[in-house]
């Protein structure tokens, strides 16, 4: 196999990121199905433009950015179609009685889903995916100051919804 051909290696690297892309999708989208649809759309886009990714730069940030712009496009398209979101019924994914940690996770995911679209993106990138403020700001194409204030507002809103105690 030729090592000079970089395309398979980018594919392989993206494949390794799939669990994280799905997780980021879950912070953006309201349902698991929407999140996986979003990942699929982003993958299809990314595969047509792998030459635009600069080796040595963060591939996760590159993919997150494609997902974010894809999601914004999707939201606009839905708005035009007058489509409303179906709120996720969290309970349906838990077959047995959830334990305390699962209950808390559901409450947190529900609270995140109630944030605005911009706020969900920063929460997903910083709190869930662990990007630095600067990295997250670059993914979203906004100044780091804007990111910081957006994140602070999102965290206040989460705090108001969830309170401070962790089980």
């Amino acid at each position: 196999m030729s090592m000079a051909d970089s395309l398979p290696s980018v594919r392989t690297q993206i494949a390794a990121l799939l669990p994280r892309l799905r997780r980021f999708g879950r912070t953006l989208a309201h349902t698991r199905e929407d999140a996986d649809d979003l990942v699929q759309m982003a993958l299809e886009k990314a595969l047509t433009r792998t030459d635009q990714w600069t080796p040595g730069t963060r591939l996760d940030s590159w993919m997150f950015r494609i997902m974010q712009t894809t999601w914004i496009d999707e939201l606009r398209a839905r708005e035009r179609r007058g489509q409303t979101f179906v709120p996720e019924e969290e309970g349906e994914h838990v077959g047995i009685t959830p334990n305390d940690a699962q209950m808390d996770a559901m409450a947190v995911r529900k609270a995140v889903s109630r944030l605005g679209d911009d706020q969900r993106a920063v929460v997903g990138l910083v709190l869930v995916e662990g990007l630095a403020y600067q990295e997250a700001a670059e993914v979203l194409g906004i100044p780091v100051g804007t990111l910081t204030s957006r994140l602070a507002r999102a965290r206040e809103a989460l705090q108001a919804m969830l309170g401070g105690t962790t089980p």
Binding site: M1, D5, L7, P8, R11, T12, I14, A15, L18, P19, R20, R22, R23, R26, T27, D36, V39, Q40, L43, E44, L47, A101, D104, A105, M106, V108, R109, V112, V123, G124, V126, L127, V128, G130, A132, Y133, T148, S149, L151, A152, R155, E156, L158, Q159, L162, G164, T166
Partner: protein, 255 residues
Amino acid sequence: MTTTNWSDEELMAYADGQLAGERRAPLAAAIAADAALRQRVEALAAQRRRVAAAFADVLDEPVPQRLSALLSATPAPAVVTDLAAERERRAARKPGLSWAHWGGMAASVALGVVLGLQLGSRSGGAGSDALLSEAGGQVVAGARLAQALDTQVGAEATAGDAGVTVQLTFVAKDGRYCRTFSAERVAGLACRDAAQWAVQTTVAAEGAASGAAAGMRQAASALPRAVLEAVDARIEGVALTVEQEHAAREKAWKR
């Protein structure tokens, strides 16, 4: 008490390890001296952990096939040309890498599960050349596939196997022997029940036919990623060696 006013954003950045430069040390000192300030920072750190934990499980979910398949359809798919070499690679590979992982190199996959009965004999009946058949509402190996699954060992396919190649054999978690196979336009996984080979998965595989047509060894049939993922989901331990396959065949694939 500190006399400096610390903004929520600064406290948040500190809790996130993102407060830069000259503000960091004074805040660290202030926190050390001020329990209320410390509590605010700790609450922010706890919130961060709590939100991260709420989404952590997603990483453990199996990635849907439709997503991984997008990335496995490489332009120049590699094929399994040497089963022994693949076994060695599998034995040598690090734990955590899966069949599906090396299957990322495998053939391009036409998405979608192929309904078994469409693949049976074109003449309509489940005759001797049927690849798949149906029994009790279940897709099972037809005569042609069963013949190959029953007899082929060590990927030593012959012309008598009528275009079916068997690649990997393993013991599933439920105790059955399972074997991967590929034929003209399909690849799949079948596990041995008391009376028959129950087909677990079939996937349309474009590479399978062209390989045979090009006169390649039949062992060179590529395994689609979906089949390898089906292997991953069931396999207990590692795949059988050729010797173990011989032994299993002598017991008619019953355990």
